[in-house]
Amino acid sequence: MGEKGESSKSAMLKHAEEEELNTKRLKTVEGEESNMVEETENIKLKTSDEIIFEVEPSIVKEMVTIQTFIEDNNNETSIPIPLPNVTSNTLRRILEFKARGFDEEFVKTLGMDEVFELILAANYLNMKTLLDILTKIIADFIKNKSVEFVRKFFNIVNDFTPEEEAKIREENAWAFEGFECDD
């Protein structure tokens, strides 16, 4: 399996065709790409499935793991940086999400497995903003749901005994909202 070289732009286009994205949105993405001034060289990232992406330095700066790696290696950026924990699909999604300005509605169209992949990648790449947004999306989704819904959603086994379960329903009559603590 040889290495495939694709620019991030053509990867996105291909992806968009596969997903049948809205063409107007596609043009906006393309437009943004072509308007960008490419004076500094794009950084090459190689995903776990051996696909190379060329990503703008400004985006790589948000990937603290990668940025640190580059700085530790005397800013040597001609060799592709391996990302053994990130697949091409996931990196593509991250770049797409970023291009859409972290629009939460986009994440809601993804399946939970994909969202988890994004979270794991954001954690690995140390992308704090992305991680905060994704964990918030999950929190917002389960906030007002029932116990049964939350267990089913996350595949959590109910390990309470019937006596413990009965007790849960009696308790929790009131509680103080919020957690924040200054000290």
């Binding site: 497995d113 964990t135 109910n158 390990d159 909202e177 957690f179 000290d183």
Partner: protein, 375 residues
């Protein structure tokens, strides 16, 4: 919370027991992660803003999370209680509203005197016990000994998040009672009396910032006379001011307001004073509430109109002696009905009673972060 292992039918030799313990330990480690598919530290990020009641009900590991020192704490009640019968030494307990359980606090360091709620010779009269919360700590500041002297030369402090007791800086005149309040992390003590009346003490004001480890009591502008020294007073911290009245309950009274920014005492607005007919508390130091203890009516202060609007009337609110406010809920202590919790943030206010431990009556209540597990 250990997961129960099936009982082994083999003989209980020491090697079998050891193996069982090892198996149990491994089983606990294999217990399901918080969110399957995510490492626990990331799952914690997702769950840190979820209602603790929901987390409590999902599974054992989600339940343990809300008590973990690394997880943002929910809030519990911290109550000073005394036995209903003659032995009236005060005790400290905490009520966890998520599991609905009472637990005594760890014992405080020994004091020279017992802290009494009632004197053995005067059972019908309560001795004042005054405490305040600031900087996520409970501070006990004024109490009386069996020979009617001030019991605490230094404030006694409990910090739930470290589950530790400590002492604050020594007061130049320890008080049997005083006007006590807080604004943010700063405690204010005004007026009151020590072992005997002194006009100097009756006019005094001092403050202490709990967040400063080397803090001492700092004198501020005095009151103009001693008319606030007659009783134990709750000074209510509200919008960077301390508001107080000099007589409890429904009787005619005088009020005064201390302005922190100007370090000056000012008149209390007339409407505020007129409606101050029982214990008062300020929600997050922004919105003031009063319980009209004679009528059992809860009211909210409307600053723009200098008047109080009614929120709720309930039998349980009669005889109210103390209230505290936090995150849309009020906790009310009444001699006749014990502890109640009122939700004032809900579209229609609700009230619950909190059952006290058998044989105890409440002196006062505070709202502070829960004690973490394993501390």
């Amino acid at each position: 919370m250990a997961i129960a292992m099936p009982e082994s039918s083999s003989s209980s030799s020491s090697s079998t027991t050891k193996r069982q313990k090892q198996e149990q330990h491994i089983h606990q480690q294999e217990e399901q992660p918080l969110i399957p598919g995510l490492p626990d530290h990331i799952a914690q990020l997702c769950l840190s803003s979820i209602n603790p009641c929901l987390l409590f009900s999902i599974s054992h590991s989600w339940r343990r999370l809300i008590y973990s020192p690394s997880f943002p704490p929910f809030f519990s009640l911290y109550a000073i209680l005394s036995h209903s019968h003659s032995s009236a030494v005060i005790q400290f307990h905490t009520f966890d509203p998520i599991s609905a359980t009472w637990l005594p606090l760890p014992p405080h360091p020994p004091l020279h005197h017992l802290l009494l709620r009632r004197h053995p010779s005067f059972l019908s009269r309560n001795l004042s016990v005054q405490s305040v919360s600031a900087a996520n700590r409970l501070v006990l500041l004024a109490a009386t000994t069996h020979n009617l002297s001030p019991a605490l030369p230094r404030p006694l402090i409990f910090h739930p998040l470290t589950k530790t007791w400590s002492f604050g800086p020594t007061l130049s005149t320890p008080r049997r009672w005083c006007a006590l309040g807080s604004l943010g992390p700063t405690v204010y003590v005004a007026s009151g009396i020590g072992s005997h009346f002194s006009i100097h003490v009756a006019r005094s004001l001092q403050k202490w910032n709990l967040q400063n480890p080397n803090a001492v009591w700092e004198k501020k502008t005095e009151l103009k006379d001693g008319r606030f020294s007659r009783e134990a007073i709750d000074a209510v911290g509200w919008k960077q001011k301390l508001c107080m009245v000099n007589v409890k309950g429904d009787a005619a009274k005088e009020g005064v307001v201390y302005d922190v920014a100007e370090d000056a005492w000012k008149e209390m607005p007339e409407g505020m004073l007129h409606g101050w007919r029982g214990p008062v508390a300020a929600m997050e130091e922004e919105v003031m509430y009063v319980v009209d203890e004679a009528k059992g009516v809860l009211r909210r202060y409307v600053e723009e109109e200098d008047s109080w609007e009614e929120i709720l009337e309930n039998e349980r609110l009669k005889g109210a002696e103390k209230i505290v406010a936090w995150r849309g809920k009020l906790c009310v202590v009444s001699a006749s009905s014990g502890i109640s919790v009122v939700d004032v943030a809900a579209p229609s206010p609700r009230i619950w009673s909190v059952r006290l431990p058998e044989g105890f009556e409440p002196v006062t209540v505070h709202i502070l972060p829960r004690i973490p597990a394993g501390v």
